[in-house]
Symmetry: C2
Subunit: 659 residues, 2 copies
């Protein structure tokens, strides 16, 4: 079953191999109408075949004169000129004026022959076929000369520029209607994997929605390509080969995701090796995430094999292939926008690979810090939270707090967040954050889900402004306060939050008739536990100790009797999913996590979900103050009370502890 990557290349070498094999450049020229040309890349130099304007033109309403006739004109002693005609804008009349003559003229109208200046109407008076001019005219005054904007034969736009409003304006001015632009490379997108289904299809057990086809589609559009999604190839070499052959025949580039590693199901390398052309350029990149990345040239077409994990897929597209596609579309390579920032938290590298770490940015006391976003290469949601990424080179084991690095931003419009909320997940708190955001759309709130302890430590480490926690102390049976007192932490304020109902999730109709913790000890009951350190795990263990006492046996004996005590789900919803799929019979969750799910809820009690605030942020962040004011409002109370399984007591938003 096992096989290894033959030779890993680094990212720079991967790009070099592609450049050498392809010399990526535009694939041809097409002509589009002016209204479709915005954002496209000009494919030819444009030389004007007319003068703009094509005639000498008046820039004001007034009278066309010979300036030398007005040299004695004064405010109290006008010069009198005979009006020999009138020229309207758009007129093709060719007048000629001689000494002592003038012609009435409108803005935009052609200057008569013989005239060399225009006097604005404000400085004239017309009477009985004569105009009295009260101001001396300067040579050429208020005349826009033929060709003074664009001359016949003048190169007005160089090929390779991206057409925006100003360039489109120049093309219109010289009468161009069809613009030569580079053809967009046509790119086929293929996803692979038996477990992949299209968004919109019903989600069956074991299946996941195709993410990569859609992220790649959007990125390819941004890079000037014309993408088309051909569908999902099952894990069969035959099916993959037939889809690939069709794509290579019909498109300029083929981009696949998944099937690029060295496992049994990873067919891409095998299939591409057998096809014609220059073959595999590289297979395996010294990068993380993104090691299983490959590229091949088949029948002169580039075939890109990206990893199946969404983060790996997108990062490797960005780092290695995006600029290749941009060169093919004529947009040209771009440097990612970067800013310098200090590490707010320690970041570890990975041995033997360049490590790309998604990060978010936060301004602290006027300085910009970056913090890692965790989630792994499979987690697209974490990536959407990230503002950019840092590169940790191969030979670096870690980046220490305070070290400065360049952060490659995902977009140039990104700005550091106003308010960071790292919190244990709560649907009730989500509703509050959403309402706050709606009331203050300019707030740039970053919301990251972790456990209760993650929320606390993120305050200690400086980047978290606000969070929610629910950690029960085994000895006192008290929530949150003992835990916070037990660790060495400062600058944290604990506010009373809300009560959250906690209980068993069981299959619909509770077929195994589970009522209490002693039922978990029964033969044939499959439990699903929560991870150590979670508030719910503490609640479970306290109850199991009580069960042990009641039954006169030790805690360890109780635990050994529970099938699944060592199966630890990381989230409430993971527990619910285990029950729904039939993998387990029972687990402990909050009531809100069971709303609209295919499980029943057996109440066991209420836990305290309290709120923690970073005191240092409180003095520096106006947005945090605004959020706390919002939490204290009646609106916030109403929102909380409307969630099933949530209760407020009269201490809501009072300070429980200040460290």
């Amino acid at each position: 079953m096992s096989k290894i990557f033959r030779r890993l290349v680094d990212v720079v070498e991967a790009v070099r191999l592609l450049e050498e094999a392809l010399h990526p450049s535009p694939l041809g020229v097409e002509r589009v109408s002016l209204d479709k040309a915005g954002g496209r890349v000009l494919a030819e130099d444009i030389v004007s075949r007319i003068d703009v304007p094509s005639f000498d033109r008046s820039l004001r309403d007034g009278y066309a004169v010979r300036y030398e006739d007005t040299s004695h004109a004064r405010e109290d002693d006008p010069v009198k000129l005979r009006i020999v005609g009138e020229v309207e804008a758009g007129s093709d009349k060719v007048l000629y004026i001689r000494r002592g003559e003038a012609a009435k003229i409108a803005t935009g109208a052609p200057i008569p022959g013989g005239a060399n200046a225009v006097v604005m109407v404000e400085y004239t008076r017309e009477k009985d076929g004569y105009v009295y001019v009260y101001k001396q005219a300067k040579p050429g005054e208020w005349i826009q000369y033929a060709g003074s904007d664009v001359m016949y034969g003048e190169p007005v736009l160089r090929k390779g520029i991206i057409l925006g409003g100003r360039e489109i304006g120049v093309l219109a001015a010289i009468g161009v209607t069809e613009v030569p632009v580079y053809k967009r490379p046509r790119v086929a997108i293929i996803s692979t994997g038996d477990e992949i289904i299209r968004p919109g299809d019903p989600l069956k057990y074991g299946m996941i929605y195709d993410v990569n086809a859609y992220t790649l589609y959007t990125r390819l559009l941004e890079d000037g390509a014309e993408p088309e999604y051909l569908g999902i190839a099952r894990d069969s070499p035959k099916e993959l080969e037939s889809l690939l052959s069709r794509a290579i025949g019909d498109y300029d580039v083929v981009v696949t995701s998944g099937s690029t590693s060295v496992g049994l199901r990873d067919n891409l390398y095998k299939v591409l090796s057998k096809m014609g052309g220059r073959g595999i350029l590289f297979h395996g990149v010294k990068a993380s995430p993104g090691k299983p990345t490959m590229a091949a040239v088949v029948e002169d077409k580039l075939v890109i094999g990206l990893p199946g994990f969404p983060v790996s897929c997108l990062m490797m597209y960005d780092r290695i292939f995006s600029n290749i596609i941009r060169k093919m579309s004529g947009l040209g390579a771009v440097e990612k926008p970067r800013i310098k920032a200090k590490a707010g938290f320690i970041l570890r590298g990975r041995e033997g690979v360049k490590y790309y770490h998604p990060v978010f940015l936060k301004k602290v006391d006027g300085k910009t810090y970056f913090y890692p976003i965790h989630g792994g290469s499979g987690a697209i949601a974490a990536l959407a939270n990230a503002d950019g990424y840092v590169e940790i080179p191969e030979n670096v084991t870690y980046i220490d707090v305070g070290e400065e690095l360049e952060v490659s931003l995902f977009s140039s419009s990104i700005r550091p967040s106003d308010l960071i909320i790292v919190t244990s997940h709560s649907i009730a708190l989500d509703n509050l954050i959403r309402a706050f955001k709606n009331s203050l759309p300019e707030a740039n709130v970053k919301n990251i889900y972790g456990g209760s302890t993650a929320a606390v430590y993120a305050i200690r480490d400086g980047y978290n402004d606000f969070g929610g926690m629910h950690i029960l102390d085994e000895e006192t049976g008290e929530y949150n306060i003992p835990f916070l007192k037990s660790i060495d932490i400062r600058d944290i304020v604990l506010y009373r939050g809300f009560l959250r109902e906690i209980g068993f999730a069981v299959a619909k109709g509770n077929p195994k008739k589970i009522r209490g913790f002693n039922d978990l000890l029964r033969e044939g009951i499959r439990f699903v536990n929560r991870t150590q350190g979670s508030g719910t795990r503490v609640f479970i263990d306290i109850n199991l100790r009580r069960t042990a006492d009641e039954q006169g046996i030790s805690f360890d004996e109780v635990v050994s009797m529970i099938e699944g005590y060592n199966i630890e789900a990381k989230t409430h919803t993971s527990v619910v999913a285990s029950i729904e799929s039939g993998k387990a019979d029972v687990g402990v969750v909050t009531r809100p996590a069971t709303i609209d799910r295919d499980v029943d809820f057996i109440p066991l009690g209420w836990e305290n979900y309290d709120l923690i605030v970073n005191k240092r942020s409180l003095s520096s962040s106006g947005m945090l103050k605004a959020f706390i004011q919002f939490l204290e409002s009646d609106v916030a109370r109403r929102i909380l009370r409307s969630v099933m399984g949530i209760k407020l007591d009269d201490r809501y938003m009072s300070v429980l502890l200040e460290l």
Copy 2:
């Protein structure tokens, strides 16, 4: 005829009036498919209705185990587990493993019940239905838990964000296929003016192509609107009113250009005043260019009246209306990208108005300078050359060299130029620049046309790297050297360029039979002169002095006999256009300016078009050095020799003078 703006508002007040009257915000929500959602603005918060992944999932090929079973596994002493089944990716089989058991598992496949870790295949050996595990597994190792990427009920995207690849990926991951996005405001574009025709229509005398409709179309698209060009309204209040009424009925916003001033033809104010609604918000802005700008609300629809001159039109759209449209489309207001730069040249303000001066950027000795681009509010080509603009406040008369200002950039991708070429226009030199650019696509060359003296003074003033000149000395009959010696200038090198044929442009067939300068004195011959200071003007005057000597009369007498001596065209092509239109019978031009034109050329002699180089740039700009090397190449010589009316002598590219 005259009428004045009632009350001018400044730009800030104009924006405030619009904000107050309209409270610009998105106009509604529509649903688009995922592949059409890139770049659109999310109109609703998105809450996940599934867990991602929806089941615990293996992150590696290997064996699903209970980690506690592997606690004694070592490299030389494996643990033996019974294989109870195999799980493929996409399988909906629900396996359950007990103590001492394992299941073969593929990357992406669902974790069997009872298992709490995956051992990578690299650390196992399979034999006779058993797997030997050589490494201890950690709890949860290589498992991606259900909901660990996105939890059921988790708000994944907030409304108001612009959808890019990462966000589209999140939507795909949670199975969304139709995305709620803000509707694009539908904007009608109307141009006005009897002299305006559509690009593509034949260019008759006195007509100019519509520029504004196309620049606005492109800018509106960029700002998230859906523009439609309704056409050109003639200068009739009736026609304008009927087109406006239709547009107001059918569209969300109407944008017009032209007809906004206070002249006779300026119908927009009169027409809008009579229509219903809140009426005129403002008419006239204290800005230059852009004074004749207005806005009205008719039947709750915004009607924007922009100036007819292309630069004014685009600048006022950018400064006043762009962010209003962006708020309607949901994209939200943006600040223009800005950089600080020093004035490289003196810039004058205008009394009583805020003056927006288009500028270009140049790096000199590592510092960024800005330089004004001249051309006037009617000149779209000058605007296309600009990198951005500076604002000169109302009460400031000038900005001195070295003063630092903020430059508002036209795009965030703009970078200062490598090589500035301010030059007297020459088709032959254009061809050289084009060939150089083609050979070195990354060169960022800015090419600005001025006269010979402008080219020289732009070197003195520091911003010009290279130019071409042809200034004849009246006394010596020598080109360029006497002029350069006569002015106080340093750091300039004059290279021999090429010879350019000079002669009369006359109507086809030369009906007035013009052969030499004495023909200009004949009755009924209408001459068109060139501006004072141009090389050609000097050539003309030298020849007229000779004519005076021959005829035994004074120069002044000769001049007074020439009809049109005081009609000064600014460019060669302006002279040609005058002959073509019949406004004049004869003028002096270079032969290349007559190629493909509707005139005949009567040769008079050859002038020296020589090349000047900024010596300071030569030491700092690699691009200038590369350009000079290119000029010295055989390729450059071939290009020059291929232009009709161009000749090289054997001193081409030798240094004539060094100051």
